[in-house]
């Protein structure tokens, strides 16, 4: 068993170290499909966070009462309830936003991020800890979707949150608001982030090696006969 993290670490791990989109690669469908603008990304992430937090709350509260044989069915029922709730509320209160996000709100049910957190975290941790974890994951999702949507909106419609940021002579790259643009942006972001973390890890490793091991030999190891 791993040592318990402090509550603040439990929250922060979702933002970066375990970011749902960039690190766990979960919830790809909404992350790619709705991020044509920053606002859409924010709305989607908030709806997902709502479902995630409340599902985690309920599931961690009753985690000892739900028999493990039917836990997935029970989780899905609970998640679907909250998704339908969000869908109805959005349709009633924010009709234009609901129209924009279209079928992707009901599709939150099948977002692996939510079921994944229940299975991996809420079913094993206390209520408070689960909610903090859900909030962290939700915030991480929000950051990812905002960055994705923001980049696509700036390059594809030269605006951010509806405000024009690039000059008129910049011709918007329509590809960025097409599905291809979502894949390109996500690919580049993940590439850069992975390069960064890999380098950090390598430097740390090298620092440790330098400290403890002295070089054995400088000659290269022959792997192939000439």
């Amino acid at each position: 068993m791993k040592t318990k993290l402090t509550l603040s670490k439990e929250y922060i791990k979702g933002l970066w170290e375990n970011n749902p989109v960039f690190k766990q690669v979960l919830g790809m469908c909404p992350a790619l499909a709705v991020t044509v603008s920053a606002l859409n990304g924010i709305a989607m992430a908030l709806a997902t966070t709502f479902v995630l937090v409340f599902s985690s709350l309920i599931i961690s509260t009753f985690r000892k009462l739900i028999p493990s044989q039917v836990r997935i069915a029970a989780y899905i029922l609970i998640i679907a309830t909250f998704v339908t709730l969000v869908d109805l509320i959005m349709k009633a209160q924010f009709p234009s936003l609901s129209k924009e996000l279209g079928p992707y709100i009901p599709l939150i049910v099948v977002n692996c991020l939510i079921l994944g957190r229940q299975e991996a975290f809420s079913s094993k941790n206390t209520v408070f800890r689960s909610v903090v974890d859900a909030l962290g994951m939700g915030t991480g999702f929000l950051i990812a979707l905002f960055v994705l949507g923001g980049i696509r909106e700036i390059l594809g419609s030269r605006t951010i949150l509806g405000l024009q940021v690039l000059p008129d002579f910049y011709e918007p790259w329509l590809i960025m608001i097409l599905p291809a643009g979502a894949f390109l942006t996500l690919g580049f972001l993940m590439g850069f982030l992975n390069t960064y973390t890999e380098r950090k890890k390598r430097l740390e490793r090298e620092a440790i090696l330098k400290k403890h091991i002295k070089p054995i030999s400088d000659t290269p190891i022959n792997t192939v006969e000439a």
Partner: protein
């Protein structure tokens, strides 16, 4: 046996609670959603029939169509929602016509999935305004790359010829259907 009961009981309780909660929320949300839908349709009707003061759904036909009236409650025309194929998916639009079905009053695109920034230009005013006071007989035509010379023609959008033509085709299809119904003697 005990486990089976436990399993059934858990799922049943969750189901009942979930159903109960959702039905309550739905009771609250349904009228609001219906109101939004109605307001949306009404808005579109008055956009395509700017002179209209009131509207009424025609119930004698099996498709959706609205009769619109001026301030003296005299019928001045129709507002017809109609749909067809665009470049990528379905396009749904609302077209307003005069009583004699010979002149279009206005056009509004309600739903579309055209290419963003390109095909979506058919929803914008430079294009839709071409339909204002457009002669619709014998049908609506289109020209490419030059301002229209005839009174029943619109100019297609550069680079989005297919979406533009789709709109024209949908308008023609809807008006033709209306004419057929009228010619067959049904009271509209």
């Amino acid at each position: 046996m005990k486990l089976l009961v436990h399993m059934l009981a858990t799922l049943t309780i969750i189901g009942i609670l979930s159903g109960g909660l959702l039905s309550e929320v739905s009771k609250w949300a349904k009228p609001k959603i219906a109101l939004h839908r109605k307001a949306e349709t009404e808005k579109a009707i008055f956009l395509v029939q700017p002179d209209a003061k009131s509207q009424k759904k025609i119930e004698t036909v099996d498709f959706e169509i609205y009769r619109v009236f001026d301030e003296n409650n005299d019928p001045i025309g129709y507002a017809l929602p109609y749909e067809g194929n665009g470049f990528q998916g379905n396009i749904r639009l609302m077209v307003g016509v005069k009583n004699d079905l010979k002149e279009i009053v206005g056009l509004q695109v309600l739903e579309q999935t055209e290419t963003p920034g390109l095909g979506t230009k058919v929803t914008e005013e430079p294009f839709t305004n071409q339909f204002v006071k457009l002669v619709a007989e014998p049908n609506v035509g289109w020209v490419k790359g030059a301002p229209p010379k005839k009174t029943n023609e619109v100019q297609t959008i550069t680079g989005a010829t297919i979406s533009s033509k789709a709109i024209v085709d949908i308008v023609n299809g809807g008006l033709q259907k209306l004419r057929d119904v009228k010619n067959s003697g049904v009271e509209l």
